[in-house]
């Protein structure tokens, strides 16, 4: 069961309310997305820590309704 792009955007925005978020579909199947998140809460954290924060926010859907996500995070 895939996830619509606007649903994914909404879920990310709820979890990272102050972030700039860009979601791009890699394939038009509601299942492969590229996600870019810029949020100052990432400042001082390693990339691994930043990605873990995103993965944890999406843990209900990752690997299940969301098959593949290319992720890029930064603080600015």
């Amino acid at each position: 069961m895939p996830i619509a792009q606007n649903k994914l955007e909404q879920l990310l925005q709820e979890n990272f309310p102050d972030a700039q978020i860009a979601v791009t579909a890699l394939v038009a199947d509601d299942n492969h997305y590229s996600v870019k998140i810029i949020d100052k809460i990432f400042a001082g954290k390693t990339r691994v820590e930043q990605h873990k924060m995103v993965n944890s926010a999406l843990k209900e859907i990752l690997g299940d309704v969301l098959h593949a996500m290319q992720l890029s995070t930064s603080a600015n």
């Binding site: 990339r47 690997g63 992720l71």
Partner: protein, 107 residues
């Protein structure tokens, strides 16, 4: 599970650079694993590859070890660096090269 985590710890601490991947460095079985192996080869890094497809215990264990859900996983001097997205980003920005130089792995 304790044993497998110890085995992973042992592998990571006895090799400067370890890549947990699907397939081997010469015959990757997944595009993401291939991409990271390619970056390391491009930089002339001599690395130890672990094919998680050959060992179900390692395949599960490595995800618990790093608390990271996907393969590939790159370790440098015992530290988990990241998966495909992070490694590619660090390579493109030059951070990976800096890190490898700082750790005396490349010149």
């Amino acid at each position: 599970m304790t044993n497998i985590l110890e085995k992973i710890q042992e592998t990571i601490s006895s090799n400067d650079v370890v890549l947990y991947m699907k397939g081997t460095k010469d015959f990757p079985q997944c595009g993401f694993s291939a991409a990271v192996a390619h970056v390391l080869k491009t930089l002339g890094v001599d690395f130890h590859d672990v094919d998680i497809l050959r060992d179900a215990e390692v395949r599960q264990g490595i995800k618990e070890y790093s608390d990271w859900p996907t393969i590939p996983q790159l370790y440098i001097k015992g530290e988990f660096i990241g998966g495909c997205d992070i490694v590619k980003e660090m390579f493109q920005s030059g951070e990976l090269q800096e890190l490898l130089k700082a750790k005396n792995i490349i010149n």
